[in-house]
Symmetry: C2
Subunit: 371 residues, 2 copies
């Protein structure tokens, strides 16, 4: 039952690219933001090496946008995130943890600043729109909130720039990391960002015309033929090694951004009109009691990590949990993301991972993982 069947209905939305993903031989789906996320066109190891060496086309429509616009848009966005957005320019992306008044993580989107009063939050798997709506209604803010018809298509891997430049023109090469430009596709301007849920480089094309989905897929596909393009998806091994967190699995409302290792995205010194700042300052002052870290697991292979695996300390006591784990064919060990109790979250610490296949010794490492 590692790959049981998915029972579908209109409640789980198809994407502009679903027909193409199926024609390309997709083996299965995750369900993410009430939408299909195609996963797996080949074995995991082949896909891993391919992503690091070539270029892949990913249907990540499930990265839904929460659109926030209006006179109070900037204020609402800042209330939602402890990241200081005061100097963020139009045309920039920003990874922005969202946290409630207790510091609990609501999501960890990439924020796109379209204009001074217009934002998209490109979200992980939770209904951020409902939180934003509740806040805006309760505070009487003047904003318009909705999920627009926007379905990102990611082009990821070292050859992505060549491929995307063929579709959108040489201007693509001038887009710096975590910036975006509006570039024409069939005469229609699309937001093209240098970003994506891998560490191999690439772009995300924010398609805002569902009906153009198959034409966009086909254009990227054709442009990548001599670059060895393949259909792909966010890759579990690659993103664990890269320290990219999965909201709802690696962390959720029960965890604050400091525990998630996201202190670089939390403004704690300058006063900010932000729901979570006071709570996070208290946490920072008292010190965190647990933290997300990487693990390198001494194993020749690992079973699928479908439920949290306990992590034990030297005396056999439970000191944390593994939330994501895979065997890395490159590092030749298991790699994992774990939430570990104090004092076990320090680099080099020895711990033991209790997988369904048995207990393995592991070493705590920082994220992203060094080779």
């Amino acid at each position: 039952m590692n790959q049981p069947a998915l029972s579908r209905s209109t409640r789980i939305r198809a994407t502009p690219y679903t027909a193409r993903a199926e024609a390309a031989g997709v083996q299965g789906y995750m369900v993410y933001n009430h939408m299909l996320l195609p996963i797996g066109y080949t074995d995991s190891e082949t896909a891993y090496w391919h992503l690091r060496e070539h270029v892949q086309i990913w249907d990540v429509s499930c990265e839904r946008q929460v659109e926030i616009r209006g006179p109070d848009a900037a204020r609402l966005v800042q209330l939602m995130t402890p990241r200081n957005l005061s100097r963020l320019a139009v045309g920039r992306c920003a990874y922005a943890p969202l946290a409630d008044e207790y510091g609990g993580m609501v999501n960890d989107p990439v924020l796109l600043k379209l204009s001074e009063d217009h934002f998209w939050l490109s979200i992980g798997d939770s209904d951020v729109l409902l939180w934003a709506k509740g806040l805006a209604c309760g505070l009487g803010l003047e904003v318009i909130l909705r999920e627009p018809d926007v379905s990102p298509l990611a082009v990821q891997g070292p050859k992505a720039e060549t491929v995307v430049a063929r579709v959108f023109g040489e201007a693509v090469r001038d887009i710096r990391f975590f910036r975006f430009a509006w570039l024409a596709f069939q005469g229609h301007p699309l937001l093209v960002a240098r970003s994506g849920w891998s560490k191999q480089g690439g772009f995300e094309i924010y398609l805002d015309r569902f009906d153009l989905g198959e034409a966009l897929w086909d254009a990227v596909w054709a442009a990548g033929q001599d670059q060895n393009i393949a259909p792909g998806a966010p890759h579990a091994i690659e993103r664990i090694e890269g320290g990219l967190l999965s909201y709802g699995g690696d962390m959720d409302l029960a965890h604050n951004p400091l525990e998630c290792g996201l202190e670089a995205f939390c403004e704690l010194s300058q006063p900010l009109e932000c729901l979570s700042q006071a709570a996070l300052r208290r946490v920072a002052q008292e010190g965190i009691r647990r933290r997300i870290m990487g693990l390198k697991i001494q194993a020749d292979g690992l079973p699928p990590c479908l439920e949290y695996w306990p992590v034990s300390g030297p005396d056999g006591e439970t000191v944390g949990r593994v939330s994501s784990a895979m065997f890395s064919p490159r590092l030749r060990c298991g790699v994992a993301i774990a939430m570990l109790d104090q004092p076990f979250f320090s680099e080099g610490q020895a711990v033991w991972v209790d997988s369904p296949d048995g207990q393995y010794p592991a070493q705590v490492v920082s994220l992203p993982m060094a080779d």
Copy 2:
């Protein structure tokens, strides 16, 4: 690809009963509230007749609870729903559409009143907790909001009372429809309600101890052996005939409760401190422009309804969409739930359904469907 593989991870939570569902031979899952919903242990027609004649055990843990307690709990709950809760007694359940300040449907839970300042909302598939948190924070309400460790197990079908009474005692027989009692299981009190997502009668047991899940399943299973108990799940044909709506598929934020045929659950005359009342009064005054209705489709069989199917009027114009459809072996026609434009939502109206297998004539009927 009607039954593609589901790619699992810790982000899609297992339930207290998952091991039992797998041992019972579950064929697949829906993903609902970030959790596994086991679907399909046998063919659809066998399950349909069995549910109407015998008794089934359903893992509906994915009906997650939003717990609202504290001095402002009753006020917050009333803000969220247009249903008048002023006379709802402790110990009662109430089907309560949730709607925002524009009248848009946020969810349609069954509300359980545990005490004057303590409620559970047993929700459909959206993160109601985030909406409630946003409202409570924005309005400064004194409430505690969380998702408790509660995983409903449903026992549904005409023989359910016999089975549940064997597990919890004869007091079960005194629980009237949409009421609940606290009854002991292994010395631990569990909330047992006469309710469930079918029209065949039955109970929902709100297990609040994850570790007791397998024992509870086993006790119900053992008690049902001579009643022909079988593992089951919410059944598409049965719930369409019964007019039970599926949030996210049949309706969502774009629709208001009046359009969803839920006027009986909307207080429009007595003034209510409720976010949606003003908007719904305007809608009622102007008259709705579309409405959910049933359809009986003249077909000998139907393909799976994975995406919305257009509905056409006599002149070939699009007049709505089908959101759920199945062939009913009992009514010997297709049965569907559709959102239809004015004036096509009147009973007896002839329309045409454009399925992937071709166009079929259909007749508009009220919900629940008469035989």
